[in-house]
Symmetry: D2
Subunit: 288 residues, 4 copies
């Protein structure tokens, strides 16, 4: 699986296709996007490994030379779909996204190895262990705790250690409800994925369903996005909405919105794991 983004110019498609054809590579999927405004080019190609006369490392080495022709701003990667990617989940008390992801992994629906779940409460420990996944409880200081900031910093340091040991391809904030410190946003850039329970940019921040109810909107939503230092403002991977009406209380919205959260997070995570998401500036190209 090969992805590339670089400044656009003529001949890129031909160069890559020619490179692959010369090696006998059988292209199973190929997607291209040229952003006319930003003059940027994006591609994702899936090549059958057994059609190539060399292995993935050799492909990577050879493609590096091709990519060099596209300039210093080009970013690319070649990954082996035979190697399962790794994910770590961060959770708090809300169980629905966790249950959903555990179910999907257990059903073989998501191409991922779940390395660990880290919770700032311990209520979800049993179900995680029942799925054969390790669980770590890292308590966070409650509001009003003395030296709360220091305790929080320590807790995040502990979380970071527990996450980084796995070198995960995805760190999923499955309704984690804690704002990541800037240095974690940087360290996990392009790998930390959040699910926000509103149709962003509407209702960023706290209690989005309360905000939606107060405004009287007729649809509520969920947004899966990469985490950046700007709260709820990172590149959007996927969004969806659910119809509500005047009869829905905030509690109804909370319950019904979970279906959007589950699906949007599962779809966004799948696309991230399949290298379908290319970030450029604050936007994403998602090749379906």
């Amino acid at each position: 699986m090969l992805t590339l983004s670089c400044p656009d110019r003529t001949g890129i498609v031909a160069r890559i296709a020619g490179f692959l054809a010369e090696a006998g590579g059988w292209i199973v999927e190929a997607a291209y996007h040229a952003d006319a405004e930003g003059n940027w080019f994006f591609t994702r190609q899936v090549v059958r490994a057994d059609s190539l006369p060399f292995d993935v490392d050799e492909l990577r080495a050879r493609f590096a030379e091709v990519a060099a022709e596209f300039g210093g701003e080009a970013t690319w990667q070649v990954t082996d779909t035979g190697e399962r990617k790794k994910a770590v989940l961060l959770v708090t008390k809300e169980p629905h996204c966790l249950h959903d992801l555990l179910g999907r992994v257990s059903a073989g629906e998501l191409p991922v190895r779940l390395e660990a779940v880290i919770g700032n409460h311990d209520g979800l420990e049993d179900i995680v262990r029942a799925h054969g996944v390790e669980f770590h409880h890292v308590p966070f200081p409650a509001p009003g705790t003395p030296d709360r900031e220091a305790a929080k910093t320590a807790a995040f340091a502990e979380v970071r250690k527990l996450v980084d040991v796995h070198e995960p391809d995805a760190i999923v904030l499955a309704r984690f409800m804690q704002i990541l410190p800037a240095e974690l946003c940087t360290a996990w850039a392009g790998r930390a994925i959040n699910i926000h329970h509103s149709f962003l940019p509407s209702f960023a921040g706290a209690r989005p369903y309360h905000q939606a109810h107060a405004r009287g909107v007729k649809l509520i939503g969920a947004t899966c996005h990469y985490v950046t230092a700007d709260l709820d403002a990172g590149p959007i991977i996927e969004q969806d909405v659910i119809r509500v009406d005047h009869g829905d209380t905030v509690a109804d919205m909370v319950r019904r919105g979970r279906d959007a959260e589950r699906l949007v997070l599962a779809r966004g995570l799948r696309w991230h794991l399949e290298d379908r998401v290319l970030v450029h500036g604050n936007k994403t190209v998602v090749f379906h």
Copy 2:
């Protein structure tokens, strides 16, 4: 057709149902909503006129006595679905909502008599007249015109005169693109309906598709709402969304978003004309 909203208490349903049953009224549709937080009660009932031993005026007179029991805050109306409601449309250059509404009226899909269309450009005059509807051209001053504010005030006064002569039940801003002055918002409160080309509260104000494109959202939308003095912040009647992706330019969004605008406005207008929309504070109850 009878609608009522009033402070909630026990026995309202029984009182109304009893009143109608006593008169032999055959209830074809009945919908209720009790807003537990606001402690407010809403109902809409459709009664077969031929099941009553008296006419609509007499029903109105008798129901006034019943409604009086529900307190001074109660608002209600009794309308005769046999009398077609009246609408006036305000347009500028964008033709898609106008074409759509003309087509629906012509196909007998909307329960309304289209009295007039008023445009601040004259490009849509021919098609309006081809549908047998009167058209008035009221030019608005371009940016940079000397004494623009005064000219605008005069233009709005002219629009108001042309609208008010019809005593319309609905004044539809079918992509009118001019901000109504506060006194018109007041004069037409509960009757002026706007279509905004975003999923409010996201992207209020000017050029919402540009805003949506810049943010990289994965769904664009449209919102039909009552006009109030707060720009794009009135009670929402209906909303819907359309999926977009990284390949959609602003021009694509403008084109594709029209389908949401057409449908959302047509649905919102229909519900308004059928007395399905009850406004309470800044929110609506919409009985489907």
Copy 3:
């Protein structure tokens, strides 16, 4: 919670509302439907128990007298939402609906007590037990087994015994993939709920995703319905669809369709448990 369906005539709403008002009953939700073609009336009302001067049994006894006035064809029930309903799930190997329902029950999202899960394979036993629910393995004879019909009859008799001991309000075929014998359809009429992986009536029977792929449809779907002796032809409770395109193989459809199956079954089951579904002939009235 009170539901009633009976031949339509004037005064039913008034009679029920009057009955409840007289007892001081506070109506929290009230929905009505009059089927003009079939001349049938349906209602569902939710009354606050603490607003009544008597208990649910007494309400039931008193309402029986009211209902008797509506004729011998009237069907009604009064249930206590304080008493949790009971469900039994039937499963085979496909885990996604089971995982989803277990997750929802565990998250407190579904108003139900899960009494037991019965599987004709044992692969899902561990996860069921991890959720604290009993699991029974009842093997079914494979195709080609000698005396297969007799073995199947015996297996169904065992399933029936394991189900009926719980007197469940819902028997959920969560991708059970075995056709219920006619006598079980009768015994469980109005309680057995199936999820079929197509948008019925398209693609009834076996391998609906294969059928959908062969026909080249652009949307796939799922249908939640009551089980009757006619395969996949019982009253439909809920349906939904998911967009597919030419790039989706049968395997992709199977995977992606699961999201429709999960949601449609969860919604249909919820509505059934909340007494929102009234069956009349081969159709349902679903009060949202």
Copy 4:
């Protein structure tokens, strides 16, 4: 704009991309699909004309040589997006799809020149002429007419003559409600587009909304497909659905379904006109 479908093998992408790159062609859009089961390859590429050193005819001539390498089964075309395609509409009394398409053409939304509208009733003549489009009335014999078949044959011959004179790229049955004779299906193969008012394959044939109402489905739909000699069984271009409930009568479904019909036909027609639809067997590849 270049489309090609042919048996799949390695190197096709490279060959085409190389051919275009050699000529300096700037690829604006490129989409590929390899159907693994059928071992067939499909592509659509949009190249900026001003990036090529020759004109469209020369491109066509040169590409013919390339395409010849892909075998005798390959089908391809090179079209000039600067040349507006031509369409003829067939209608009967139902006006909604006609109004919608006239509105879209008039608003510049559809890349097409509307050559003529042919109706078997004359009720829509005025609105067609108001849009500056020619209208032909070809009456069809009513049921019970003596020699009905002969009269029908004559009427179809007249329709064919009126259509063929324009050599249209699209013949749109915008709710035409007459079954095309087999020889017209053949003559217009791949150009005749129908809108059927159900979610096919459910409810093919007559009165689909009546069928849907009788079955009690919770979604109704519309399907845009190429016309073949098998009634309502041609390759599907686009489908969509609308939610209905127990309160919707057949008349409500007819009215509400029109929104699906309008949108599905408009989308299907647009994609056809933009050469996004490649037919293979009884299925379509639609490049968005």
